[in-house]
């Protein structure tokens, strides 16, 4: 015991003991913090899932574009029989999340009768593996991701994120250390988005288009693998999937034309359309005026209402017989 306590003496100068002590403290601190629930200021890293109380008649899936672009009560009202509509769309997610969400929903015996999938197409050209593994997946799901053999280093990093509170929360912690209020950077974007959008005479400036929207349409192997799995899962359970291409602002439309975005997106959609149970309802780009958007990608309330009504018109003849009441999450 005296030997052990001697480490606290200023005369104790053992570099090896310092390394061991450091390792023990890190493991201890991370284990204790790992047992705590992630704090509210955790930022965007952790994705949680709100499963519906019962099987939805129509379920919206996708990323923030789908989450903010579809007004559930409007959709339910506009569809014949006022079906029970639910959304499992999540901000900053991709097809890989959609697959695991559907898998969990099916495991809980809450199979939706129809899925409306309305993702921003760029989600197919970006990987979110550390976020998926570290902030969303359960251990069996991580094993499934690892078995896919795609991007093993990202999977490993995701596992470290899952195990380490600090890694998982490094963005808000970094903000705090830099003297900003936690979530300030993330909220700066969302605060802007909360505003009602532009006045009719105002326009989004093409020079300010974020880089991600200037790229050609591409499909990365990881999202592709899990999108295939998502479609297969839906097909096995005879759940029809309706793909809706979300509307865009004119500036994005011009940028996409310049980089031949649609020339590559359309064959991809046509390929999906060949599959049983999948229907593409809006394959070509639909351009809305700037004042219907909050930012380059997300519709405002007025825009979302317009898009939802358009969606209901397209869906109504295609949907299977549905009934029920509206339930927003």
């Amino acid at each position: 015991m005296r030997n052990l306590l001697s480490i606290f003496s200023s005369k104790h100068r053992d570099p090896f003991a310092a390394v061991i002590l450091f390792a023990l403290i890190v493991v201890g601190v991370e284990t204790i913090l790992g047992l705590l629930p992630d704090p509210k200021w955790r930022g965007a890293f952790v994705r949680t899932l709100s499963l519906p109380p019962r099987s939805p008649d129509v379920q919206v899936m996708g990323d923030s574009v789908a989450l903010e672009g579809v007004v559930l009560p409007t959709l339910s009202t506009e569809l014949p029989g006022h079906p029970f509509v639910w959304t499992l769309a999540k901000s900053a997610t991709g097809p890989e999340f959609t697959y695991f969400m559907l898998q969990r929903e099916l495991a809980a015996g809450l199979a939706p009768k129809a899925i409306v999938y309305a993702p921003a197409p760029h989600t197919f050209g970006t990987d979110r593996i550390p976020l998926l593994v570290g902030g969303f997946c359960t251990w069996p799901e991580i094993w499934e991701v690892a078995r896919s053999g795609k991007a093993p280093m990202d999977v490993l990093y995701g596992i470290f994120c899952k195990l380490s509170f600090t890694l998982r929360n490094r963005e808000p912690l970094g903000e705090m250390l830099r003297g900003k209020k936690a979530g300030q950077t993330l909220n700066a974007v969302s605060m802007k988005e909360v505003s009602a959008g532009l006045r009719p005479e105002m326009h989004f400036v093409a020079e300010q288009i974020p880089a991600v929207f200037k790229n050609d349409f591409s499909v990365k192997p990881f999202p592709k693998t899990f999108f295939e799995k998502f479609l297969t899962l839906a097909q096995e359970r005879h759940i029809p999937v309706y793909w809706l291409t979300p509307p865009i602002v004119p500036a994005i439309g011009e940028t996409r034309q310049a980089c031949h975005f649609d020339q590559h997106l359309i064959p991809f959609l046509e390929d999906i359309h060949q599959r049983d149970g999948v229907q593409i309802l809006q394959a070509e780009s639909m351009v809305y005026q700037d004042y219907l958007f909050k930012d380059f990608m997300h519709l405002n309330q007025e825009g979302a209402d317009k898009f939802t009504k358009f969606m209901a018109d397209k869906l109504a003849p295609a949907l299977p017989q549905t009934s029920g009441t509206i339930k927003a999450p």
Binding site: K11, H12, P15, F16, A18, M153, L156
Partner: protein
């Protein structure tokens, strides 16, 4: 495969695991294979370049040792150097010289079209070429005997911790370590760990965050204020130091975990009091290489005062050009050459203790010299970092406008905040005049240091795995 990626650490964990279970000879074989895999991760085609260079220098070394005729030895050495520098020159400088020659001919009124090739620069070619050349040069000077094992020599050249960005190890020191069995010790482990975590901190926290400040400043060709130029140069000074010394620390640390001791490459360079002192502290392996093999070969300071200045200038221009094929690097070499010449010329004129012999007077004089030298170094980094002579001219003019400009103080504070741990540790090392001072401090202070480094890396480290600046050299 960068040291600041998970991919490298997985690779290293596998190598280390195998290393500890294998006997000595197999350790070397495995390390050689691992080194080639490490290099092939960038571009497998260029592994052949290393192999060719290694084979040629191995046999040249043998022949040089067996030859007693001095004229023949000189001729063999000449061809060996020509071969090595020819490779380096072709891959690194062909485009630069072809472009400039064409421009020169055009100015002279000739319409010449010199074929320029889009040559990919093999990573670390300057490092392993110099490393390999030191072997033949040392054998020529009869300072070492050639090794009989090709495998040992190949590992010396290709040893993955130092292959792509140094330190440019002297052949004899590494060959001896390769040849002898190495035993893992507690001390090697703790020192290796210290160097790795400190190196990662310098790279991920200091250098990569400084890059976020410096890059936008140097990307701008338009309006500069003196304050903005100062901010850019200061950020770049810490970026390049954090980047390169961080790499060296990680290289030395990983080597130590396997029982190899690589040379110290940086010794608190921003605490230098004069240009000569700076080059004894900055990129020591290159400056000593240039001193031993170029400056001394040119005659050093043995052929009169004028020739000494000339030799200094030539050595530094060559050192500048070693960094890359651009006029800004040549200019940077000339600048440091002139600083060395000026320091040499004024050495006798500067009083040793202008503020008296008291401790306070000496301390004040020392810090004044450190501050002045740091200012000169900052201007050197401005030359180094500018993408053209035109930008350098604009930025230099801005310095003399003496306008502070909005945001200068905030940028400086930001830089100092990111570098605060680095500065504190280095002040402590400087005060103790010991690079190992921290490892000799109480255990709890060392533990606190590791925790601070580790959590700062995790929380404010730039995780987008930016490449190391010196890889391009």
């Amino acid at each position: 495969m960068l040291f600041n990626t998970l991919q490298f650490w997985v690779f290293f964990a596998v190598v280390l695991g195998l290393y500890y279970v294998l006997p000595h000879r197999w350790q070397n074989r495995m390390l050689l294979a691992a080194s080639y895999i490490f290099y092939a991760a960038w571009d497998y085609r260029f592994v052949s370049l290393i192999l060719i260079s290694t084979t040629v220098d191995f046999y040249v070394g043998k022949i040089l040792d067996q030859t007693s005729d001095q004229r023949r030895r000189k001729a063999i050495l000449f061809w060996s150097i020509l071969f090595n520098l020819g490779f380096l020159g072709f891959f690194k400088y062909y485009g630069f010289f072809a472009h400039n020659l064409q421009h020169l001919l055009h100015v002279a009124g000739f319409q010449a079209s010199i074929h320029t090739l889009n040559i990919v620069l093999p990573v670390g070619i300057s490092f392993y070429t110099f490393q390999s050349m030191s072997y033949t040069l040392d054998i020529y000077r009869r300072e070492m005997k050639p090794t009989s094992s090709f495998m040992d020599f190949a590992l010396t050249v290709a040893f993955f911790p130092h292959m792509v960005a140094g330190p440019i190890q002297r052949a004899h020191s590494l060959i001896d370590q390769v040849a002898q069995p190495r035993k893992p010790t507690r001390d090697n482990f703790s020192e290796g760990f210290y160097l790795i975590i400190w190196g990662l901190f310098k790279k991920i926290v200091v250098a990569d965050n400084m890059a976020l400040i410096a890059n936008p400043i140097f990307a701008n060709d338009g309006h500069f204020t003196a304050g903005r130029v100062f901010g850019g140069a200061l950020a770049f000074a810490f970026q390049i130091y954090g980047d390169f010394s961080g790499y060296t620390d990680i290289a030395r640390g990983t080597a130590l975990l396997m029982g190899f001791r690589l040379m110290v490459n940086f010794n608190l360079p921003y605490f230098a009091t004069n240009p000569q002192d700076f080059w004894r502290r900055w990129h020591i392996s290159l400056s000593t290489w240039l001193r031993d093999y170029l400056y001394i070969s040119l005659g050093g300071n043995r052929r009169g005062e004028v020739r000494t200045y000339w030799n200094l200038l030539i050595t530094m221009v060559f050192g500048g050009l070693w960094h890359g094929a651009a006029w800004t690097f040549v200019l940077w070499g000339v600048y440091h050459g002139l600083l060395l010449c000026a320091h040499r010329a004024m050495a006798g004129l500067i009083p040793e203790t202008p503020f008296g012999v008291s401790r306070a007077g000496q301390l004040l004089w020392r810090w004044l010299r450190i501050g002045f030298m740091f200012g000169l170094t900052l201007y050197g980094w401005l030359i180094f970092r500018c993408h053209s002579a035109g930008q350098l001219w604009v930025m230099t003019r801005a310095v003399f406008s003496f306008s502070i400009g909005a945001g200068t103080i905030a940028t400086t504070i930001k830089i100092l905040c990111y570098c605060s741990l680095l500065l504190m540790v280095q002040l402590y090392q400087f005060r103790k005049n010991n690079l190992n001072a921290l490892r000799e401090s109480p255990t709890l202070i060392q533990t606190g240091f590791y925790l601070a480094c580790f959590y700062l890396i995790l929380i404010i480290g730039a995780f987008d795995a930016q490449s190391f600046i010196y890889f391009q050299f």
